[in-house]
Assembly symmetry: D3
Homo-oligomer: 135 residues x 6
């Protein structure tokens, strides 16, 4: 078993906000992340695929293919977007790093056909990171 990781980059705006809560509770739980006009991040996503590299190619998955999937299925849908207003697959879900990683997993687990999706790791900033490996 070899674990192959490819990174992707995007930047986006978001606001942490639960519409069923009072403003006071939103402020208490989400603090500065609840700023009404939003804020944003440069995100880094690391997609890890696990598999056995066949002898004839030596590759679990062609990293160029993996890069293209990440680009088309993830980056193009979120780059230079506002997670609360522009991103269909986040509708109804608070755009925390946790929920974005789970959203990415749902999309990619359908699209990876060589090897098996093993992990989605999402850096919201240098200091804040989340990882999801499926249920």
């Amino acid at each position: 078993m070899v674990y192959v990781t490819r990174k992707g980059y995007f930047c986006a705006a978001h606001r942490l906000y639960n519409p069923s809560w009072s403003d006071e509770k939103n402020n208490r739980v989400f603090g500065k992340c609840n700023n009404p006009n939003g804020h944003g991040h440069n995100y880094t996503v690391e997609v890890t695929v696990a598999g056995n590299p066949p002898a004839e190619s030596g590759m679990v998955i062609d990293l160029k293919v993996l890069a293209d999937i990440i680009d088309k299925e993830l980056i193009e849908r979120v780059d230079h977007k506002n997670f609360n207003l522009d991103v269909d697959f986040m509708k109804g879900s608070i755009p925390t790093a946790e929920n974005i990683a789970i959203g990415f997993w749902k999309i990619l687990s359908q699209k990876i056909t060589e090897g098996e999706l093993y992990s989605i790791k999402l850096y919201e900033s240098e200091n804040n990171v989340v990882e999801y490996r499926g249920a």
Copy 2:
């Protein structure tokens, strides 16, 4: 002459948009950065102060003092904010990295009293950087 640099970090949303242009021209010039709902970045700012360290302290400027100035005068005014809507000193100015760096210079050049402000370097992302050293 010794050049002392302290880094600061913040995240913010912005939209590149010139209200006196047509939507079509805004799109042509600013591309994805003109997304109406905004996008965002993790910014890094590097503030450089130049001076001669006196023998008794060996420091051009106390880095803790410099860090506090950066925090109070820059970071608190822009962190988790929207540059177009929430930041007073950017009013009337398109929030490109160039203009933010110039805005930071105007603020800090009044506040640095040990040594002399030499440079403001602003990373909008790992790949996009601007530097301003005064007029």
Copy 3:
């Protein structure tokens, strides 16, 4: 299950030294790290907490809360300190990265109440890293 990681930073001095060994043996085993007047590092600690993000907040643990715990329980006790002389919870233990990570685990496993402490990863330098996930 989502794994949430928050980083913290501190700098400290230490000396690797076993008082029950001869100087010769200390030198042979610990080499330059046994310098009698000590040396030091910029350490990075990564604390990972595992849990299921509830729908109403979308967060395993509020990263601000986690950051505050790391600050108060770890960083304040070791930052700008000498591990051999100034840090109570390392008394009687050689301050290798391994032992510091285990010491951090013992402290934090009592303080994390949302989610579950999963891993303490400690960078002594860019090239030397240890990780502890509990017994």
Copy 4:
């Protein structure tokens, strides 16, 4: 159980090419990596060893010893080399990151005598990473 990681660095040239395939198929599968005159990378290898640190030393494995093993057994055999032409243990194997990591594992699993080899992680570039933890 503590996991101790030491990094090593080398640069090398390689070409992805399966001699039993047509030029057309090599180009289709390996793309730019099949350039006949080769290309190259700065590689970073992370070697992780797992074990229990004995109380008398506080170290799973002396990191200086681990660094010397990595240097002598891995770096000296591949640094400033061409993987297709100069590296004996890669003979008959396509020098993908996956196969290099497996080759490194075979060598090091015989040489680590304190603790147990847990993982070989190989960065071919900032964006492309593979990890092997044994069969």
Copy 5:
């Protein structure tokens, strides 16, 4: 005056070798970099353009335009190539980092039409960097 920097990335093989020297002298001067079958690097290039951002756009040069110039004029000509055998503008010149930076300057100084080319900085590795600012 604002200095705007955009980064680009490529990987390539090279061999340091002066054909008018004996093998012995080539080995003495270039050491491991003279390995006959070549070696390689992940290079990072930083292109800096200086200018005054006009009020209507706030940009010295559109970073997307600069990125496209770097991509088309530099990266496409050297990425996944062998500097000694595949790169026309390096013909007759030893492919040291110094000479590659000068070669890049000659190309870009003709292509930058907004602002003025100020610096080419080339990272051959994390530890080896050269910068050229014109004659």
Copy 6:
């Protein structure tokens, strides 16, 4: 003119302290950096040499030669040392980053014989950096 930079790494302990001041003044000026038992850092030093690369070698200075000078003249004298107690060329001088950089300059300006020493840049941490380019 080409600027060539080579990096070096070391870790050391230090204490900021002026023996002619009261404890109270030392604490007020140097804060946590005045901890009596010291603290420490992983330092990175960047040495930049300027010159014209001769056509026959294409190199301002052989980076291996520069690396060896940095190793022998700087790193070996400070690595795993205590700046206040173990480093001869810092005697009588407060070991701030500024003073260490000036000390390094004095040493290296005598030892660089190909090209000319242009800059010493010293990272005390990721966030604190000083640069000295001579008087």
